[in-house]
């Protein structure tokens, strides 16, 4: 391996380690990242679930993919805050004088976020099983569903990292969390889209979260999913490419 690729790789590895360690030392954030999705799932299943008709599928089984995606977006959005904290403090200057570029810097944040997120996802699945979630997915279905989730978490984390570069303060960066929390609502995550007003259908059916949730739900219930996984993957790939490009440019702009 040449020095030009070995250095950034070693830097990214060291920064991923830092991200994981920082997460572990900040238990409040981790607990909220774990407790929030579980609470949400319980709220939907026990408070609203009785009133929502999802046909033959039990509501808990219907809603788990939505909660998982919501929790993934929520967790990934945290990247914006941690990136913006590094940009405001002296960390970014230190990294630049050590010749560490934007990609290892942001990769460190993104990978640590993804790791934290997978932990939260596992917990949500665990609790879901306890309250009656019974998927009938094949092993291949499970793998595909997890792969899609991973793609979504990675894309949203990179997008959040880009937002963290623009935000002037960590507080401003936190608004990304709200956006990511909101996005799954106007989709088929919690209620079937047919039950929404007509003017919302266009958005709800064509936003990135809907094909993602449809795919994950279909894969977990071993139902036909059609082209939804490919649409979801295309969304994730597109958003990821956009986020990586934009954050590279933003990093140069903000560190002039």
């Amino acid at each position: 391996m040449s020095e030009a690729t070995a250095r950034p790789l070693a830097a990214a590895t060291a920064l991923v380690g830092r991200g994981v360690l920082l997460g572990r030392r900040n238990p409040d954030a981790v607990i909220s990242a774990l407790v929030m999705p579980v609470m949400l799932m319980l709220v939907f299943v026990y408070f609203f679930g009785g009133a929502i008709d999802t046909g033959d599928t039990r509501y808990v089984t219907y809603v788990v993919p939505g909660v998982i995606v919501l929790c993934a977006g929520f967790g990934a959005a945290g990247t914006a805050v941690s990136v913006s904290e590094d940009m405001r403090g002296g960390t970014v200057d230190r990294l630049r004088t050590l010749d560490v570029g934007a990609v290892p810097f942001l990769t460190g944040h993104v990978v640590a976020t993804v790791a934290r997120n997978l932990l939260a996802t596992t917990l949500v699945f665990g609790v879901a099983f306890l309250i009656g979630f019974r998927p009938s997915a094949t092993p291949a279905g499970w793998l595909a569903a997890i792969g899609l989730l991973l793609a979504y978490i990675t894309a949203v984390s990179w997008l959040s990292a880009a937002a963290g570069l623009i935000a002037r303060t960590p507080e401003a960066a936190n608004t990304v969390t709200f956006l990511m929390m909101f996005l799954p609502y106007p989709s088929s995550a919690f209620v079937p889209i047919d039950t929404m007003p007509g003017w919302l259908h266009g958005f709800a059916e064509n936003q990135p979260v809907t094909p993602l949730i449809e795919s994950i739900r279909g894969l977990l219930l071993d139902q036909p999913v059609g082209s939804a996984p490919w649409t979801a993957l295309a969304w994730c790939g597109g958003l990821l490419a956009l986020a990586v490009t934009v954050s590279g440019a933003l990093f140069r702009l903000r560190t002039r």
Binding site: A10, A14, L15, R18, L21, L22, R25, T91, D93, T97
Partner: protein, 313 residues
């Protein structure tokens, strides 16, 4: 030996504000150089340009013999920066912070651990190595930050930049940090520091440049500056407010509450006599006077007082 730092006509503008205005600096290798100036004088911008973090709009700067724009990488390999904002992670321990930074500088895992241990020892942080940095005192944290800047092989870090290293520190921590700077200088490292404190520049630096509005107002050894710009200061007490206002434009130090004005002089009888006659030809405005040896404060105030207008009496 070539200079460690040399700039010519360095200019940087943010919006309509000219932060650096054709700045010329020269820092000899192995010396401690202090850039002294009030807030907003352009100290931090100078450091940012010299450490390759900000590109200048015009002019040149060479650090360790390399151009800060064209040969950024080579400059980065020769310098260490400890900025105004801490670059250590508060929830990581001292040892973890140093190992991380050492890894980022390109050392292998093993080499990074060894380097961290050396630095902890050198900056007297060995006992606190496994405590989170948030439990450190202000001075310890600053030392850790400084150590983190020095993770590179000491043989290659030749110039250390410290941007207001003691701002916000208590006197004891400040003294500890001064010792660290002296130790660095003792090893032959070039130290470029910025400060608002005259005492700091006076005690640490071989040479001082006084910066105001992005320009060098004066440059020299502490002694030279004291002698050249204000060997002595004549304090005049005006007879009344009108007299104070008449005398005020000639003074560098204004104390309206006591109607006292300070005027620079070389301290000789001839000059003091001539000065009094020139300021007060009718022998009506000045009530008393006293002569003081100048301090670096006088130099600083003399050079950085942009308005000679009297403040409201």
């Amino acid at each position: 030996m070539p200079p460690a730092i040399e700039t010519a006509g360095l200019t940087k503008t943010y919006g309509s504000v000219r932060v650096l205005d054709a700045l010329d600096l020269r820092v000899e290798t192995g010396t401690v150089f202090a850039l002294l100036g009030p807030n907003g004088a352009g100290k931090t911008t100078t450091v940012r340009v010299l450490t390759t973090l900000t590109a200048p709009d015009a002019g040149q700067a060479r650090v360790a013999g390399h151009d800060v724009v064209a040969e950024r990488r080579a400059v980065r390999r020769a310098i260490s920066l400890t900025g105004q904002y801490a670059a250590v992670d508060e929830t990581l321990t001292g040892a973890e912070n140093l190992r991380l930074t050492a890894r980022l500088s390109g050392l292998s895992r093993g080499a990074a651990a060894r380097r961290a241990d050396e630095l902890l020892e050198r900056f007297r942080l060995t006992e606190a190595r496994d405590r989170q940095a948030k439990t450190y005192s202000g001075g310890m944290r600053r030392r850790l930050d400084l150590a983190a800047g020095l993770v590179r092989d000491p043989g290659t870090t030749r110039i250390v930049f410290l941007d207001e290293p003691t701002t916000g520190l208590d006197p004891r921590s400040r003294n500890e940090l001064w010792d660290v700077v002296r130790e660095l200088a003792g090893h032959g490292t070039t130290v470029f520091l910025t400060t608002q404190y005259l005492e700091e520049a006076d005690r640490l630096a071989h040479r001082i440049a006084v910066l105001g509005a992005g320009r060098t107002l004066a440059e020299g050894t502490p002694e030279e500056l004291k002698n050249r710009y204000a060997g002595h200061r004549l304090d005049l007490v005006a007879r009344d407010r009108d007299a104070y206002l008449r005398l005020s434009p000639h003074a560098t130090v204004h104390t309206p509450a006591t109607l006292t004005l300070g005027v620079p002089t070389d301290g000789t009888a001839a000059h003091v006599r001539a000065l009094l006659d020139a300021l007060d030809p009718d022998h009506a405005d000045i009530e008393r006077f006293a002569l003081h040896s100048a301090t670096l404060d006088d130099v600083f105030l003399h050079l950085t007082s942009t308005t000679k207008e009297p403040s409201h009496v």
